[in-house]
């Protein structure tokens, strides 16, 4: 067992950190917060550095690395609050022309939300009728999609994706509940089924209940072409008893970004606590402040172990666990960091609020937290 970073992985992490420090430092973040917009040249630089093509095989022009390396890169992106639909573009590499090289910016409908809808060249999923929100995060424009992408056990079976018996119960309940069913138990069914089938993207990519009940032409989704084929072939599928489906890799990479925020906000808090003086001493000497910082580190380290392990196992329950712990570490970390900064933390000038707001956006990105909790609950009975 060598559950630690290899030298190559350290080098990769340091390389990404160096690139981002040069290309998107604190000043750039501040500028972007005041005048948001997608920096196409930065996007192309990321592409040239292989950020989007990390998992693409070398024969296809990619870097040929795995999920653990990708997670490290996304953690770094999360640390510096790199803006843009990074996850969707990464997932589109090799499937959408230009995505791997950063020439084409791809976004996706993820759990009823779509980020950077207007700024992207290609949209994965059904974004029809999307409504713009006045985004809480100045760096992440968000649209809400009226029709949540759906996926059901019945669709999975029609697509030839086996559903493990342990999770079939939950999915059955969803079927019975009918069209309005959004029981997250069914999500776990779909996710587990998809992963077990080895065709993660395939099964999860079936989006849009309308597409399924129709001719199947509307079945799109991030790289789920193989799954879609199965569905469109099964013309008899007319059920709309379906639930949300999000690519588990998108969940994991989002968790990696959250981990980046958790680590960064812990550092910012500690830096401030060491230098800011009140009552004649650094505030970090006060136990109340010390304990806030210790809590941040503990949450970060627990989340790190969960995220890295999920990158190795790619098990749905591990990914769901990584998501829950990384969300907690990021959101509470940013909040506590703001608290340590006191009144300064409540100003626009401090970058702390940007971390908190981005953490909130990411926590909503891949469906509800309750879905991950339900998946993990179902896992206990598996």
């Amino acid at each position: 067992m060598r559950f630690r970073l290899t030298d190559d992985q350290r080098a990769l992490r340091d390389g990404v950190r160096g690139l981002l420090a040069r290309r998107f430092d604190g000043a750039a973040l501040r500028t972007a917060a005041d005048a948001p917009g997608l920096d196409r040249s930065l996007w192309r630089e990321l592409g040239a550095a292989g950020f989007f093509a990390l998992r693409l095989p070398e024969r296809d022009g990619g870097v040929g690395l795995g999920l653990p390396e990708t997670v490290l890169a996304f953690e770094e992106a999360g640390r510096v609050l790199l803006p843009g639909p990074l996850v969707a573009t990464h997932l589109a590499a090799g499937k959408v022309a230009g995505a791997a090289g950063g020439e084409t910016v791809v976004t996706a409908v993820l759990g009823g939300l779509v980020e950077w809808l207007a700024g992207a060249d290609v949209v994965q999923g059904d974004a029809e009728g999307a409504v713009p929100l006045r985004s809480v995060d100045p760096l992440t424009p968000v649209h809400r999609v009226p029709r949540v992408p759906k996926f059901s056990r019945r669709v999975a079976e029609a697509a030839g994706v086996p559903v493990p018996p342990a999770v079939a119960d939950g999915a059955d309940a969803v079927s019975r509940a009918g069209a309005a069913a959004t029981d997250a138990g069914g999500v776990s069914g779909a996710g587990a089924a998809a992963t077990d089938a080895g065709g993660v993207s395939g099964a999860w990519a079936v989006t849009g209940a309308d597409g399924v009940s129709g001719a199947g032409a509307a079945v799109t989704g991030a790289g789920g072409v193989s799954g879609a084929g199965g569905v469109s072939g099964a013309g008899g599928v007319s059920e709309v008893d379906v639930v949300t489906g999000v690519d588990p890799v998108a969940v994991l990479l989002t968790a990696a970004e959250q981990l980046g925020t958790a680590g960064r906000t812990c550092e910012l808090a500690v830096q401030h606590a060491r230098t800011r003086e009140q009552f004649g001493r650094p505030i970090g000497a006060f136990q109340a402040v010390k304990h806030l910082c210790a809590g941040m580190l503990v949450r970060t380290e627990v989340a790190r172990a969960a995220v890295y392990a999920a990158a190795v196992t790619v098990e749905p329950a591990d990914i769901a666990a990584a998501r829950l712990l990384a969300d907690e570490a990021a959101v509470r970390g940013a909040r506590d960091c703001l608290q340590v900064h006191g009144g300064m933390g409540f100003t626009w000038e401090s970058e702390v609020h940007l971390h908190l707001k981005r953490a909130w956006v990411r926590a909503r990105r891949c469906g509800a937290v309750t879905e991950s909790e339900e998946l993990l609950a179902a896992d206990l009975l598996a």
Binding site: M1, Q9, L297, A378
Partner: protein, 390 residues
């Protein structure tokens, strides 16, 4: 970064599993929690079985009589014994996990030869004489005095919260040998025989109702100078070695047990209908995330220890990372048994039901081996580098 085991590690697991399947059915029934002599005999008996099968001191260095196993093998050992329902270290806890490793790291050749083999063979039980009524979390405030009298120390004072004191043969005892020195610099680490004249042990009842630990009164107890581990007045450094063992490795096997309990809770909840409550169900789901992550953190720490040549197998000392784990784990354990109470409903008030006593004993986890508040100070000062303060 991987979680795969080597063929040797897998072979080790298979052999261990086979051995456990063979010996566990023949074990005598577990004694009552209040019957200390029976518990001592039971725990020592299990240690002897481990010794005879070559599993004693798995994580100890070879020159200390251990097996010099890799930290990963130790992890597999804890995982498999827990999964198979094997006895926990019990009364051998202090000897195997704190005192033994400390003597292995800091003791002389003669001390190692005298004290380590009986621990491994399941012949002697140790207890921990650290805490005092006025020196719990503030351990360096301890007042128990030892003055030199020829080749002996004469010890006076008292200790409290001493687990297994009633049935222990030896006590890892901290005493103040220089009352005039700064408080961290006047402490010495002694191995005290529990049958020495002048020792009185008075059992203390815990809130769980059982006599889990004791007060120990020391009245002119003579301890040979030869029983001193480390230099005189250098006991604080030796103690830090002991404590890092306590925090770094002592709880590892319990995470596996918690994961088993959690799965049992889910089954129980489905049987009694509470599973239909989405709030409870999701809470169990969250606990699943928690204990999965704690297990992964354990694997991470073990891998790091192995790579740095540290960890227990190489005789190295675990780092302060143990504080991170201990902090999170001790709270998670309490949340687990609180969830158990909600699965049980009104039955959670019945001491005869499973998990109810566990819920009570879990209350000690955020206090024992350094309170959560002390652990947070350690994390803040030693890992994050924040200034010392109060």
């Amino acid at each position: 970064m991987d979680l795969a085991h080597t063929p040797e590690e897998e072979e080790f697991r298979v052999r261990l599993r086979e051995w456990l399947a063979k010996v566990l059915p023949a074990l005598p029934p577990k004694p009552s929690p209040d019957d200390w002599p029976a518990r001592r005999a039971y725990d020592l008996g299990w240690q002897r079985m481990l010794h005879d099968a070559g599993y004693a001191g798995l994580h100890w260095p070879v020159d200390a009589g251990g097996r010099g196993a890799t930290p990963t093998q130790h992890l597999i050992f804890l995982e498999e014994t827990e999964k198979a329902g094997a006895p926990y270290v019990g009364a051998n806890f202090v000897g195997l996990l704190h005192a033994g490793p400390t003597i292995a790291a800091e003791g002389t050749a003669a001390q190692r030869a005298r004290w380590l083999p009986p621990v491994l063979r399941g012949e002697e039980v140790w207890c921990q004489g650290f805490s005092e009524p006025d020196a719990g979390s503030d351990l360096a405030a301890l007042r128990t005095r030892a003055r030199r009298d020829g080749d002996h120390y004469v010890v006076n004072g008292s200790k409290i919260w001493t687990s297994h004191a009633e049935v222990a043969d030896w006590c890892e005892l901290l005493v103040r040998t220089d009352p005039d020195a700064p408080r961290h610099r006047g402490i010495t680490w002694l191995a005290m025989p529990m049958d020495a004249p002048g020792i009185t042990v008075r059992p203390l009842r815990t809130l769980a109702g059982s006599a889990e630990f004791a007060e120990v009164f020391l009245d002119d107890v003579r301890v040979p100078v030869a029983n001193r581990v480390g230099d005189e007045n250098d006991g604080w450094r030796v103690t830090m070695v002991t404590l890092s063992f306590e925090r770094g490795t002592a709880f590892v096997g319990e995470v596996v047990a918690c994961r088993r309990v959690l799965a049992e809770l889910a089954v129980a909840a489905r049987q009694n209908g509470h599973w239909d409550d989405p709030v409870l169900r999701r809470r169990l789901g969250r606990l699943n995330a928690e204990f999965r992550a704690l297990w992964r953190l354990t694997q991470w720490n073990v891998s790091e220890a192995e790579a740095s040549g540290g960890g227990t197998g190489g005789g190295g000392v675990p780092g302060v990372g143990g504080s991170v784990f201990k902090l999170r784990y001790s709270h998670a354990r309490q949340e687990l048994y609180d969830a158990a109470a909600d699965v049980l409903g009104p039955d959670s008030l019945d001491l005869d039901r499973p998990w109810v006593l566990d819920r009570l004993s879990a209350l000690s986890y955020t206090i024992a081996a350094g309170t959560s508040q002390i652990q947070r100070n350690i994390v803040a000062e030693r890992i994050l580098g924040l200034p010392k303060g109060r």
